[in-house]
C-alpha cells in the first residue's frame, strides 16, 4: 500500500535508535501537523549474522551462541535450537530433562511478559507499573542464577541431549514462593485502570484477515480472534500432559493485547505448578551427550521446528550434509513480521501520541528481528 501525502506542510521525524522509547530500532514518520501520514521501518542496527556464524561452530558451541538471538527470552531460543539438533540426529531426551525444560521455558515467558507490561506502562505514562514489573522480575533472575549460573545469559543451559546441570534441591522449595508473589502482583494490577483504558482502547485495531495476510502470530493474532497456539496445535516436549487455557479476544486493539499479556502469565504459573508436582527421577542428559565430544557427526537431512516463544511463533530450519557442523541454519523470528509489515500498516492516519502505545503493544524485540 503506497502512502499518500495530505498537504504541503509535511515533515519527517526520526523515531530513532537512540530514543529512550524505542529500543535499537528506528521508524521514519511522515507527519502533517499532529497526524502521522505514513511510516517506514529502518531495521539493521543489530544485525550480527547468526545464520552465517552458526555454520562454522559445533552444535554445543551454537547452544552457547543461541541465547543471544533475543536476550529477553534466552532460554526459549536455547530450547528451539536444541530441539532442531536432536531431531536431525534422532535422539530421545530423558523424561526428567523434558520436565525441567518446560519449567525453565515457562519461567522465561513470565519474565518476558513482565518486561512487556513494564515497558507498555511507562510508554503510556504509568511509571509505577514499570517499577513494580522490574522489581518482581528480579526474583525470577535470582532463580536463574541458582539454577543455571548466570542471571541473564544461561550459556546454553538447554543443550542438545538434555540440560547441562541438574536442578538443585533448594530450587524446588524456592520456586513456589516466587510464584505466589507474582500471582499477588497480577491480581493487584488486573484492576480496571481508567488511565490505561483511555490510552489503549480502540488504538491500533488489527482485523483478522489483515493479520493473517501480514503474517502476525502469537498474542497479536490471538487478540484479533483466532484461537491458535503452537503448544496446543503441535505439542512439543511434554505440553500435552498439562491442563491450561489459551486466552483469546475479539477486538484487536491495544487494550485486548494488554489483557492477554496478564492472562498468559497466570496460565504459565499454572503450568509450572503442575510440572513441579509431576517431576520424575532419572538422568538429566542422554548418555551420548554427557561427555563433550569434538567429532560427533550429524546425518544428512533437513528439519523445520516450530515453538511458541513469548512474542509469537519461532522457527528454525536446519540442513546438514553429513559433517560435524550444520550446513545452513535459517531462523524465523516473530518480531521480523510484527515490526516491519504490521507496524507500517497500523501507523497510517493516527495521532503522534498514539505511536508509543501501538509500538509497545506489539511487543517487538529488535534483536530477534535483525538476528
Amino acid at each position: 500500500m503506497k502512502p499518500e501525502s495530505v498537504g504541503k506542510n509535511e515533515y519527517e521525524l526520526f523515531f530513532g535508535p537512540a530514543h529512550p522509547g524505542s529500543g535499537n530500532f528506528s521508524v521514519r514518520l511522515k507527519i502533517d501537523g499532529e497526524r502521522v501520514v505514513s511510516a517506514r521501518a529502518d531495521p539493521g542496527y543489530l544485525h550480527r549474522g547468526f545464520e552465517k556464524l552458526m555454520e562454522y561452530r559445533l552444535p554445543i558451541q551454537n547452544a552457547v551462541l543461541s541465547d543471544r538471538i533475543c536476550v529477553l527470552e534466552a532460554l526459549a531460543w536455547n530450547l528451539i535450537h536444541a530441539e532442531a539438533v536432536e531431531e536431525l540426529i534422532g535422539v530421545e531426551v530423558p523424561e526428567r530433562a523434558k520436565y525441567i525444560r518446560v519449567i525453565m521455558a515457562e519461567l522465561s515467558r513470565i519474565q518476558s511478559h513482565l518486561i512487556w507490561y513494564g515497558v507498555l506502562s511507562i510508554g503510556t505514562g504509568f511509571d509505577t507499573g514499570f517499577k513494580l514489573a522490574f522489581g518482581y522480575r528480579d526474583f525470577i533472575l535470582d532463580l536463574f542464577e541458582l539454577i543455571t549460573g548466570g542471571r541473564v545469559y544461561p550459556a546454553g543451559y538447554i543443550c542438545p541431549g538434555g540440560v547441562r546441570r541438574d536442578l538443585p534441591d533448594s530450587a524446588k522449595e524456592r520456586i513456589p514462593k516466587v510464584l505466589d508473589k507474582i500471582e499477588k502482583m497480577i491480581d493487584f494490577v488486573k484492576a480496571e485502570n481508567p488511565a490505561n483504558i483511555g490510552r489503549l482502547r480502540d488504538v491500533g485495531v488489527l482485523k483478522l484477515e489483515d493479520a493473517i495476510r501480514l503474517g502476525a502470530t502469537g498474542p497479536v493474532i490471538r487478540a484479533s480472534g483466532l484461537r491458535t497456539d503452537v503448544r496446543k496445535d503441535e505439542p512439543y516436549e511434554v505440553y500435552d500432559r498439562f491442563d491450561f487455557e489459551v486466552p483469546v479476544r475479539k477486538e484487536g486493539d491495544a487494550y485486548a493485547r494488554f489483557q492477554i499479556c496478564l492472562e498468559e502469565m497466570e496460565q504459565s504459573v499454572k503450568i509450572i505448578h503442575q510440572a513441579l508436582k509431576g517431576l520424575p527421577d532419572g538422568d538429566f542428559i542422554d548418555k551420548r551427550f554427557s561427555k563433550l565430544k569434538l567429532n560427533m557427526r550429524m546425518p544428512e537431512g533437513e528439519v523445520y521446528v516450530r515453538n511458541e516463544v513469548a512474542r509469537g511463533e519461532a522457527g528454525v530450519y536446519m540442513v546438514s550434509d553429513g559433517g560435524t557442523k550444520p550446513y545452513r541454519v535459517k531462523i524465523r523470528g516473530p518480531s521480523f513480521l510484527h515490526l516491519i509489515p504490521v507496524l507500517e500498516f497500523l501507523l497510517r492516519d493516527v495521532q503522534i501520541a498514539d505511536v508509543p502505545a501501538i509500538y509497545w503493544s506489539l511487543n517487538g524485540c529488535p534483536a530477534d528481528m535483525d538476528r
Binding site: 549474522g49 552465517k52 503474517g215 503441535e234 513480521l337 500498516f345
Partner: protein, 167 residues
Amino acid sequence: MMEKEIIDEIKKKFGVEGFMQRERRVIVKIAPDKLVELCKFIKDLGFEHLSSLSITDWPKRGIYEHTYHVWSYKDKILITIKTEINGDKPEIDSVYPVWGESAQIHEREMHELFGVEYKGNPDLSPLFLEGWHEKPPFRKDFDWREYVRKNFYDKENDRERVYFEEV
C-alpha cells in the same frame, strides 16, 4: 484433511509425488515454472500462513534451492515446497500475489543476502546492510575471513594476532 489426501490431490493435478517425512510434515518438489500455480492451489485448500522462506546454495551442484514452509490453521499440517534454480543467473517468480506482505518482506531479505532476483516483488530495496559494495554476503563463495582481516583487524596488535592464524 489428512496428509495422504493432500499428497493425492497434488498428484492428481500436477503429477508430482510428495512424501510424508513424519507426522504433520509433507515435502513436495516441483519445477520453478509451476511454482506460483501450486502455491495458489494449496492456498485454496486452506494453507494460508507462510511461516518461512529460505535459500540454500550448493556450489558443487551449481544450484540455488528455495524452500517454502506453509502452515494450515484448519488441518494443522505443514507443507514444504522445494524448487531449484540455476546458479549462474538466479531469478524466480515472486509469490507476493498469493500470500501478500508476509512473502514480500522475506523475499526482500533473501534478495539482499543471496542476490536472487524476484520478478513481481514491488519493493526490493536494501534492508539490513548499508553501503555494501561487495558480493552478497551469505553465499558460500564469499570469503568473509579476508574481508574481516582487511577491514577490522591489525596484525601488529598482540591480542588480534590470533585471528591471522589458520583454524
